[in-house]
């Protein structure tokens, strides 16, 4: 306030000085007549009026009239007007100053308006960009409120998202609790009825955000005046931002549902294949026996043997499926283990026998080192884990290459004893960058995905089981040799170390 007063005083002084300079220049320096001097004064008044304002111009025109009268109009040296023409000069100075200052004031105001509008548009633009660049982690409404306060330099912004029912606050100023409660109610009303409140006393406006005709949110702004059109623009942008986030959410949900559906279909397909294979052998054998009962004894025995073996295979598949369901329903490490004393060597023999179909005459060497004590394990689960790892080794190495299963005593870091199961194959190996991922569920290496059937569950299952035993499953791989190691600490059946 003081500043503008000082500025006005300075301008008034400068206006007077301007008149004095014109007067002095005309009086002493240049040969003149009253007409030229009159024009010079007029020019000065015009300049002052167009650049500064009415007050400065009026003062200048009065001063100019007086100076003109005193110095240049006869009788010179006296404030008297002999000729009525002089009145004309005086009024023309005054009229010029009035008209010119009004014109310039209007132009100035328009320029200021234009600048203000440009700023509004710039802010709307910044805000719209901010909407596009939202971070998917935070709720969108929260980000919108924060951005709105920041971009429009508002003291406070409160945004109510009707869909989630959440209220988000932003801006440097806080409300007292009572005021805020009242505002919450107002925001909810606004969002459900689509009305607006304006409170000039507090410089506060509350307005609805509509999508089409339906209100989807509301917001309150405090601390700055915002033009209606800008307010409308902000409201539309918020509507777009919220709707965009909603559409994205929906798209993600649909995508997730589609993927899980796809996954389920793949799993069911794979399971069906797995179960139908032994069933095919059984059915082919039994129907063959039924349709031609008079086959030679050797044929009948062969068919019955296969049927019997495959029935057992089917039984094992069902057991595995039941165990996997057990893993599936429990969370990691919370699987209820049914521990029983198990001879590790026997366990390995058992696993190799159960995979004889997959082994199909391949050299599989079992090596047990040292005196191995029986240890409390969930025999079925651990058998399942070892089967997955061995099956993997068989699948991912050349058809006739050997596979080794090694059982040995080991030491783990804190001096406690452990037992190691190591399964080594001579396949192409797992690239270093994939070694960390092979235990992930459904992860399958892109290099084998289309050549070797499978669904990326085996190692994940094995890993879950080993962890449930407080053990560790690790991989060590280079081209030509891959070893998976299951390390199980020796524990008593309560899970405490002996």
């Amino acid at each position: 306030m003081n500043l503008s007063l000082t500025r006005l005083a300075l301008r008034l002084l400068l206006s007077l000085a301007g008149v004095a300079i014109v007067t002095a220049t005309a009086f002493f320096a240049i040969p003149h007549n009253p007409t030229t001097v009159g024009f010079a004064y007029l020019l000065l008044v015009l300049l002052i009026a167009s650049n500064w304002g009415l007050a400065e111009a009026t003062l200048a025109s009065i001063a100019a009239t007086l100076a003109f009268n005193f110095f240049f109009l006869p009788p010179i040296g006296k404030f008297a007007i002999a000729d009525p023409q002089n009145w004309v000069a005086l009024f023309s100075f005054l009229a010029t100053s009035l008209i010119a200052s009004r014109l310039s004031a209007r132009a100035n105001r328009q320029a200021l308006d234009a600048i203000e509008r440009q700023r509004d548009i710039e802010r709307l633009y910044t805000f719209s960009r901010a909407i596009l660049l939202t971070d998917p982690v935070d709720p969108i409404a929260k980000q919108l409120a924060r951005k709105l306060a920041e971009v429009f330099e508002l003291a406070s912004v409160v945004l109510f998202d009707r869909r989630t029912g959440e209220i988000h606050r932003a801006g440097p100023t806080d409300f007292d609790a009572v005021d805020f409660d009242a505002m919450q109610t107002q925001l909810r009303d606004t969002a459900s009825q689509g009305t607006s409140f304006f409170d000039p006393e507090r410089k506060r406006v509350i307005t609805a955000v509509r999508l089409g005709s339906e209100p989807i949110a509301s917001f309150a702004l405090q601390g700055a005046f915002m033009q209606d059109s800008v307010l409308q623009g902000v409201s539309n942008l918020i509507a777009i931002g919220l709707e965009r986030a909603r559409a994205q959410d929906l798209a993600h949900q649909v995508e997730a549902a589609r993927r899980s559906e796809q996954l389920r279909a793949t799993l069911i397909d794979a399971m069906a294949h797995e179960f139908k294979t032994p069933l095919t052998s059984i059915r082919a054998a039994t129907t063959s026996l039924l349709s031609s009962p008079d086959q030679p004894v050797e044929s009948r025995t062969e068919l019955l043997e296969v049927a019997d073996e495959e029935a057992r295979h089917l039984q094992a598949l069902i057991d595995d499926a039941v165990d996997m369901a057990r893993l599936e329903s429990d969370h990691d490490n919370q699987i209820k283990l049914r521990r029983e004393l198990t001879d590790p060597k026997e366990l390995v023999d058992d696993v190799v026998t159960s995979l004889h179909t997959q082994i199909d005459n391949r050299p599989v060497e079992i090596r047990s080192e040292g005196s191995l004590l029986p240890l409390p394990l969930d025999r079925r689960l651990l058998k399942l884990a070892l089967k997955q790892v061995l099956d993997n080794a068989l699948k991912y190495s050349p058809p006739r290459s050997p596979v080794t299963v090694r059982v040995s005593n080991a030491c783990i870091s804190d001096g406690h004893r452990a037992i190691d199961f190591e399964i080594t194959d001579h396949g192409p190996g797992i690239p270093a960058q994939e070694q960390g991922r092979v235990f992930e569920r459904f992860y399958r290496s892109p290099s084998v995905k289309n050549q070797i059937p499978g669904f990326g569950l085996g190692l994940a299952i094995a890993n879950t089981i080993v962890h449930a035993h407080h053990g560790e499953l690790t991989v060590n791989s280079r081209p030509g040799e891959t070893t998976f190691r299951l390390t199980l600490p020796l524990q008593d059946s309560n899970g405490a170390r002996p």
């Binding site: 139908k276 059984i282 082919a284």
Partner: protein, 233 residues
Amino acid sequence: MSQGRILVVDDEPQIRRIMRTALTGAGYEVDDAKTGEEALEKLRDYHPDLVLLDMNMPGMGGLAACREIRAGTGVGIIMLTVRNTEKDKVEALDAGADDFVNKPFSTPELLARIRAALRRVPISTQSSAPRIRIGDLVIDFVGRTVFNGARTSHLTPKELDLLRYLTSHPNEAVAHRELLQAVWGPDYGDQVDYLRVFIRNLRKKVERDPDRPEYIATEPWVGYRFNGSPEPF
């Protein structure tokens, strides 16, 4: 006395065992292969009359193996698969299989399908000529080839049988059912989709423009008709 030679291709050893026993018991000579690659190798020396081919195998897989076998020979092919969707059937037939059996199957059914695949259409008097021509089209029943005026193609046994049956009833609408039973045997008759795939493949070899067939015309809702008068050549 052998009924024919069959090559069983399946990655499941137990299925190979069963097939060997059951097919040998039914009077066939049997050899087997674990993969499509091995099957292609064996085909060179073994010369089977029929290949029983599993669809889902590691390595090149059943469909690719089927295509390769078909590209080189006219041997009968029956595909075995656990999946039973329209898409799988069409893919198998498109790859050149003569028939399609779902796992699990019963042995008598498989044997019937094998008999049908090995069955040949009895040669009637009109078409007993070893070669016939219809305009530019030349069909060589002995060499199992067809020349459509632009190029010569090999015919699979079933394609040859179809063509033989159609050309022996020239300018006459042959019903789907009649055609199926004549070529595949009395158990067939409803598998019109089979027939459609075979006719499509046949047109690719016989017609200059398979989309506007000149010789093998469709009789809507009835069946197919062979246009033209075959002459011995």
